[in-house]
Structure formats: structure tokens, C-alpha cells
Assembly symmetry: C2
Homo-oligomer: 261 residues x 2
């Protein structure tokens, strides 16, 4: 849509390039006098340029944002909010509240851990290479959370028991932690645990993006043995070919022993 400009105060104000007309916030027009006005911002091509973030700052921002609007928002806000401060536009055009939905594994459904979802949403905005995303998901499944502690805790400043999820699923992650720690899923300790986990996941995402920026990102995660074994028959190219996934098969499918050829 290309629209003719409207003369205002002897100067043209209009819109080009597919934007609807919206008056500038502040326009001061004079002739031959130096003044301040906003200028148009052209949204850059995808992916947006990342600038290295301080990992500890990302963790603290994620931790505090978790207690504002949950895990997914916490991780997304930690990285994109950091880039808003450090880079400004175009990151200032992203409303980080768009990631709130991921909390509790998608509005409480217990699917993908929201900290992962928010973190990789940010990663995918600054990189079309999905190998760091896969690395973050894989590493999550093998990491004992939480080990990071904030300087000032929101719910409790106790050291908390840790557990490995063996899965990127919120439900598995939370239940395994409840079983390992003895704390209830509705306890302040569980919420504190998820806040710290969100900080660690967002921090690792920033570390990986920093490494990509430095040209020294090296993925090390290997698929679970069961994935390689089971997908030989059940995967896309196998004779059964009824599975399109790479989460550890053995975690859920323990009750189905069968002959393998």
C-alpha cells in the first residue's frame, strides 16, 4: 500500500512501504533549524543480528521474569529483554509477553518445558540454524536442575535437591523433581526450583548464542541409545515407520518388551 502524504505544517507526513498511516509520536518541523524527530525504522531481514549478552545478567533477568509471568516468558524476556537494552531496535518491537502461553508446558498441559520453549523462541529469532536449539533441548534432558542460586531468592533461599528429567517434557521434569526432593508440585520449593531452572536454561541459551557469535559453538549432544535402536525399525526410514520423534523411547516404553530382529 503506497499512500500519498498529507501536508502538515509545510512538511509532508505520510506512509510508504506497506505501513499504515500513524502520526509520529513527536514531530517538530522547522526550516534550517536542527531539531529532534523520530525517524522510520526499517525492520531488518530475518534472522536478526545477535549481540553477545552477559550470561549472569540473563539468568537474573530470567529468574525475576519467571515470578512475573512464568517460565516461558521468563526465558524469552531474559534474552529478548537483554537485547532490547543492549541493541534496541528491532528487538524493541517484540512484545515478550507473547511467550507467556508456554508456562507449565503450555498453559499447564505438561508438554514442552516452558523454559525451553521461551529460550528457543528467542534463539530462533536470531538464528535460522537449529543445531543450538537441538543442543539446548538435548542438554536439558541430561542436566541435573537446579544448581544455580540467585543472590536474592523470591520463594526460599535454601539449596534445593536436583534431578535430571531425561525428557524435555514439563510433566516428567516436575514429577521427577518432586520424587527426588520430596517437595510437592504446588510447594514454594517447586516454584523456586522452576524459577532457578528457567534462569539456567536461559543462561545456557545465551552461552550457546555467544559461542555461535564467536564461531566456536560445538554441539555434543548424542541421541539416547534407545532412539537409535528403536528408530532402526520404528523411525521414518525403518520397516515399521510409525515414529517421528527423538525423545528417549525407553523412559515411557518400559512395559512393551518385544522380539527384535
Amino acid at each position: 500500500m503506497k499512500m500519498a502524504g498529507a501536508a502538515v505544517g509545510g512538511l509532508a507526513i505520510g506512509a510508504v512501504g506497506g505501513y499504515s498511516i500513524m502520526p509520529p509520536k513527536e514531530t517538530i518541523v522547522t526550516n534550517e533549524v536542527e531539531v529532534e524527530v523520530e525517524v522510520p525504522q526499517e525492520v531488518p531481514e530475518y534472522p536478526w543480528t545477535y549481540e553477545k549478552l552477559d550470561v549472569e545478567e540473563v539468568k537474573n533477568r530470567a529468574y525475576n521474569a519467571y515470578f512475573e509471568s512464568g517460565c516461558s516468558y521468563g526465558a524469552f524476556e531474559a534474552i529478548i529483554g537483554g537485547l532490547k537494552e543492549k541493541v534496541g531496535f528491532p528487538y524493541t518491537s517484540i512484545p515478550t509477553k507473547m511467550a507467556v502461553y508456554g508456562k507449565g508446558g503450555t498453559v499447564g498441559w505438561g508438554t514442552l518445558c516452558g523454559a525451553i520453549n521461551g529460550a528457543i523462541m528467542a534463539m530462533n529469532l536470531v538464528s535460522s540454524d537449529l543445531s543450538p536449539v537441538n543442543e539446548l533441548v538435548g542438554e536439558y534432558t541430561e542436566t541435573a536442575y537446579p544448581t544455580w542460586k540467585p543472590a536474592v531468592a523470591v520463594k526460599t533461599d535454601e539449596d534445593l535437591p536436583t534431578s535430571e528429567a531425561g525428557s524435555p517434557l514439563c510433566h516428567v521434569s516436575v514429577t521427577k523433581w518432586c520424587e527426588a526432593s520430596g517437595f510437592g508440585s504446588g510447594s514454594i520449593e517447586r516454584k523456586e526450583r522452576c524459577g532457578r531452572l528457567t534462569a539456567e536454561v536461559a543462561g545456557r541459551a545465551a552461552e550457546m548464542l555467544n559461542a555461535v557469535t564467536d564461531g566456536n559453538f560445538v554441539p555434543v549432544f548424542q541421541d539416547a541409545v534407545s532412539v537409535t535402536t528403536c528408530n532402526g525399525c520404528h523411525g521414518d526410514a525403518g520397516p515399521i515407520a510409525n515414529v517421528h520423534a527423538k525423545s528417549d523411547c525407553a523412559q515411557c516404553h518400559t512395559d512393551e518388551p518385544h522380539e527384535t530382529s
Copy 2:
């Protein structure tokens, strides 16, 4: 950051409001003459204003985008791309490729169905009310996909068998469809099925957002019976309190009969 403007052609060009200086794409400056220039766009407060979309257009856009960059991008691009066309700014500032990561239930991990992830990312951008998001997830678990057919199919124009996932997980959804249809997970029919499913999920998201806009959105999804029953003990407020989730428990936990009090 507030920066002094630089005089150009008798007019000031600078930046205010936290934006870095970036020359406008095209600036034509004259005195007392009507011309076209870009004007600054102030990013509106979250959530962004939604305008009702044509559901069939959303479906077709999602279907075609699926074959470009996968399910999650397909659903996100269908809604946000539609809003870019219909509304323009601020939607034009969102790179929809940021949602590619959700494909295959998060880069192939088989967790949250990517069509859901992309659709609800868009829903959460235009609404802070998560009840339509929950409705979309719940409805997905009970819906037999795919029933929609494109005018021109990409992989095959056959009618395809349908199946209900009973779960928002990609792995469960795909495997149940493979078992119901007899088609392999790597087959062109499975890819066609996921393309059509992406269209349907994005279309329903638009329908729900349209209903919210019209003030007649009414959620009807009820948690699975097992969720209500099991969470009586295992949920956040129960005596065991080791579960923070609401996916159908009985789908996976069929092998663990135990006494209930």
C-alpha cells in the same frame, strides 16, 4: 537514549525513544511541497489489536507455509502473515521464521505439536487471555485430523484416514495416525496429513480469535476424567502432589493400577 538530530537538507533527522540511529529508507525533503516520506511507527502496547481474518484464507496460507518451513512456522505465518496483509504495522515487524523451531514437536523431539505451538504463539501475541489457547490445545486432543482438503494438494490429493491423538504431543499424534492409516511416518501421505492438520489448527485459532473479537467465544473443553480423578491425589493440592499437568493421564499410565482411597 536520546540523541541530537543531524541536519539534512534543511530538515532534522535523528532518533528518540530508545532507537538507534538508522537513516530512513527514503527521505525526500522540500519546503511547502507535498511529498511522500516514511513516518516513525510507535510499537503499540501488548497485546496487539487483532482484526478478524478469513478462516479459509488462514487455512490455505498455513497449508502452503507448512511445505515451506514446517508445521509451527505454517500456523504462525498463517495468522501473523494474514495480519501483516490486513493490518500492516506492527505485525510487519515480526519475522515469522522465528517459529520454525517448533516443527516435529520441537526440532523433531516429538513434544508439543508444532501446529499448536505456532498457532498459540500468534494467539498470545494478540491476547493475554489464555482461555482460547487452552481451548485450542484441548480441542486438538479430541479432534479427528485431517478432514480439510486443499484445492490443490502438494503431496497427494487423496482423501486421508483420520485419527484422534488424545494428546497435544507430536509423537502421539503422528504415531496414532500412522497406526490408523497404515502409512509410514516418513511417507508423503504423513507429510500431507500434517500439512492439512496445520491448516485446520491455524484455522481454528483464527476462528477462536474472531469469536473473541465478536464477544462470543465460549470455551467448552473439559479436562479428561483421568485428570480430575488422578489430580485429586497427584495434583498440586492433593496429598501426593507430584504432578503439575493436565494431559490425559490414562493414555500413558495404563500399566500402573493401584489402590485408590
